[in-house]
């Protein structure tokens, strides 16, 4: 099974997949933008400011998902000693960090009309800020040392420690009294959001996920070429 992750097998697939994912991303994004900005209704309480949800929520979901994946891969790196997992984790980080920043910035922009402030040191927002710090530490750990094995170990430990923060982000709104509202979309409980809003939210989430996939494929391709560049010196 691990053979599927062999760089030799994936390079050709990546090149073909990149163009397809880019085209699909543009189509889904355009559809999502029309739904989010034009067709979806305004909220009875928040008015049109609710439209910020269509960029804020998918960004937060994807940044959390990517960090969780990086942490799981880091366990794989340390236990299975599979170095390709580290290339995958490294390639996932840029889009994860970007979505984390988007979630914070759009959350602040949403906070001004709804809460009357762009920032509050409440549990959800602070834990999301902490996630940005973990992402930055993970990315920078590859730059602080030239020793690749050392960088793999440091980044893996950072990702595993950062995993503790993920349930804190998720359940912070339930555990503490926060300014941030509780989750409206639940997998195990009833979803408290109307289908007319759930549709654009789903489409935008799909578009953002496709963008992360595109960035991952491009970054993974770059990392493989870097390795092969070093390999040319050893020929």
């Amino acid at each position: 099974m691990l053979n599927y992750f062999n760089p030799n097998n994936t390079l050709l697939i990546i090149n073909k997949l990149k163009k397809f994912v880019l085209a699909l991303f543009i189509i889904v994004l355009l559809l999502g933008l029309i739904e989010a900005l034009v067709l979806s209704p305004e909220d009875y309480k928040q008015g049109d400011s609710v439209r910020i949800m269509y960029v804020h929520v998918p960004s937060a979901w994807i940044s959390l998902g990517i960090f969780s994946l990086i942490s799981i891969l880091s366990f794989g790196i340390l236990i299975l000693k599979n170095k390709n997992f580290s290339i995958i984790a490294k390639s996932l980080a840029p889009s994860g960090l970007l979505f984390n920043i988007i979630a914070l910035v759009t959350g602040s922009l949403w906070g001004i009309p709804t809460w009357g402030t762009w920032w509050a040191w409440d549990a959800r927002i602070t834990s999301m800020l902490l996630l940005v710090i973990f992402y930055l530490m993970f990315i920078l750990s590859w730059r602080i040392t030239d020793d690749n094995d050392k960088a793999i170990k440091i980044s893996s430990y950072i990702a595993i420690i950062g995993l503790i923060n993920i349930p804190i982000v998720k359940f912070s709104v339930d555990w503490w009294s926060t300014l941030h509202q509780p989750a409206s979309v639940n997998l195990l409980k009833d979803t408290t959001i109307h289908s007319s809003m759930l549709l654009p939210l789903g489409i935008m989430t799909a578009a953002f996920a496709l963008f992360s996939l595109l960035i991952f494929l491009m970054k993974y391709n770059t990392e493989l070429i870097k390795i092969k560049n070093k390999g040319l010196d050893r020929l």
């Binding site: 760089p7 030799n8 390079l11 050709l12 090149n15 933008l33 989010a36 900005l37 034009v38 305004e42 008015g47 049109d48 400011s49 439209r51 910020i52 960029v55 804020h56 960004s59 840029p94 889009s95 970007l98 920043i101 988007i102 910035v105 759009t106 922009l109 949403w110 001004i112 009309p113 963008f211 595109l214 960035i215 491009m218 970054k219 391709n221 770059t222 493989l224 070429i225 870097k226 092969k228 560049n229 040319l232 010196d233 020929l235």
Partner: protein
């Protein structure tokens, strides 16, 4: 209709700022990663051109290098 979409009952500034920030971040990251990829491909092409003929033949036999070369101008020489 157009005014409604632009001003959004007074929330236009916040909504449009959020969407513009998100989309410009996408463009920014996409072009940074694209730039890095092109840079590495060019570096690979340059290194490959400077290889001796035996090493070129050796590299061409390897599957990964063949796939990499297919995406660089070197392959067409």
């Amino acid at each position: 209709m157009i005014n409604e979409i632009i001003f959004m009952n007074g929330y236009g500034l916040y909504v449009w700022s959020s969407f513009i920030f998100t989309l410009s971040s996408f463009f920014f990251l996409y072009f940074i990663i694209k730039f890095q990829l092109t840079k590495e491909q060019k570096k690979f092409g340059k290194k490959f051109r400077n290889l001796s003929s035996e090493k070129v033949e050796l590299a061409k036999k390897q599957k990964t290098y063949r796939e990499l070369l297919a995406n660089t101008s070197v392959y067409k020489i």
